[in-house]
Subunit: 337 residues, 2 copies
Amino acid sequence: MPNPPTIKEIARKLNLSASTVSRALHNHPRIGLKTRLQVQALARELQYEPNQTAIFFQQKKTFTLGIVLPELSEAFFSAAISGIEDTANKSNYMVLLGQSHDDATREEKIVGIMKNHRVDGLLVSLAKNTVNYAHFEMLRKYNIPVVFFDRIPDMQHIHYVAANMESGTVQAVALLLQQGHRVIGMINGPEKLIASRQRTTGYRTAMQQQRLKYDATLNLPTDLTREGTRQAMQQLLSHKRKVTAIVAFNDYVSQDAVQYALEQGLQINKDICFVSYANLPLSSYMAFPPMASVEQYPYQQGQQATAILLDILSGKLPQDDYQQLTIDSRLVMAPGR
Amino acid sequence: MPNPPTIKEIARKLNLSASTVSRALHNHPRIGLKTRLQVQALARELQYEPNQTAIFFQQKKTFTLGIVLPELSEAFFSAAISGIEDTANKSNYMVLLGQSHDDATREEKIVGIMKNHRVDGLLVSLAKNTVNYAHFEMLRKYNIPVVFFDRIPDMQHIHYVAANMESGTVQAVALLLQQGHRVIGMINGPEKLIASRQRTTGYRTAMQQQRLKYDATLNLPTDLTREGTRQAMQQLLSHKRKVTAIVAFNDYVSQDAVQYALEQGLQINKDICFVSYANLPLSSYMAFPPMASVEQYPYQQGQQATAILLDILSGKLPQDDYQQLTIDSRLVMAPGR
DNA sequence: AAAATTTGCGCAATCGTTTGTGCAGCCATA
DNA sequence: TATGGCTGCACAAACGATTGCGCAAATTTT
């Protein structure tokens, strides 16, 4: 009922000016010890808490980071956001959330609202169909820095953090080679995706390291739909060379591929092995988990992206010193194998 | 570089007062058509956007909801938050996020920060070890309404939304009975949990409906640890009556129980059947998914809780008309069975 | 034509906090 | 004793928008 106490109130009760009270609370050296203690005592007594909205307004700073990402309920993103929130909180920043649901229009709207809320900075993972980046360009005018993570735009001067699939892929293929597999299929994603190209590069590198020839007909691009996976599987299983192992684009693809193999009467881990890229939690609970997974460290990506953003905000990093950080992915063996 | 345009700037350029510009932009009837159009035209040209922080400050309203929950990366919560965000966004509210990591101290700190950020309202799912509710009581002084969801405190005058496990449990047990099972074990949670008691009640009700006797020795409370589950399983499997079906507290418990059963040489869905409460995504990918799951509708819980909060904020609901909404859980058959 | 009403706009306060500046009184140094 | 430098505080502006009130001019009513 009674409004929260303000600096003015404290000032009135102590016959001081608001400025003195403010300085006293901030331990300004020019305020005498006596008054300082008086003020602080009364502040405690009244349970004074500064009105942040006033401070935000006055300082043109909100200590708030905006996060825009496609879908919270995807395990990858909820892990990333967890890293973001933890890192932000350590620096007393709060986190404002918006999901685009992979819709570019919604994304644009959210970015607009966040801009109006005057977030200090933005962390963004793009919606699938975002092709127009005007709403991000606009943020420069408002001096709101953006750090992209995971799904990054095809732009020049941006900060970003992303996982590099190449390293993990090299390790994955190397593992399979080491286990004696010689004909390894890869169910890849759309060729325009950086992530797909990185997988291809990783595949080639691993083969070269063993002085083996890279066979492009074993690396199939798909649209990542269930049907696409099944078609790719069909092609691979009818390949003139006998495919004994498969690298799947992600766990969902892997599951569909496994299912197709089962339908064809193949025995998993005997006739054919699977390696995937981790994006399902608890893959240990899966019926036929891949024997290994390339981990993309979503939590760490969130952490790093936030750390960069905070460094920019604190002035440690100049705005135009574009940070482009790739986190190496890494092969992780399935538990219990 | 140039600061975003303000109302004052527009006023200066048109030789008007700030108040006139403000009213013109809001289509105030007392502003002449000519000036109104002039103002709006210039605003568009300068790409004027109101400074929300100023408005927040002035109106003592931030159009922001705070969310405090234990762990973002848990599927249940990320689904809930998705519902919250969607609902909030429809009313042009933003969502400020904080995870307690199931730590009461952290929860308290987050609530404090959110209060200082002057969120309009709070949505809270409690940390496990929260016993002191002082930080929530304090919010009343600040007139910040709170709606709890799922993990609700043991307090009198609060708003909350929670799933009632009873209905789903009745259905689960009824299903097992219908399939001919007569000795049904239940691996329950700590007895002090409301959710555990609801499961017990549901179990009893289902038995009574078939005029069967309820056997308390088949309903075992556990601490929900892996070891607790295994001990319960041991007790159940050595029960004097032959247990042919088990209701597990949740999917994690279910998995552990299944594993134990397998170790004992039992065949799942033949020697023994499992029913659980859904909290793992993609349970269809699990090795031995429960044949059915009690769905708790996290997304809907989030929606409903947010709707209540928004109604309170808009004045549609009086603060002290305490909404206590329970969403009935419901049994969902596993896909493909 | 005088009175009443409406129209169109400006003035000024307000929200709570921070911060540059000014001004006493005090002490110390020359 | 005059000069200078501290010390301790108050004054006032500023951030950007909203809003009650007032006042003149234009319009309508009587």
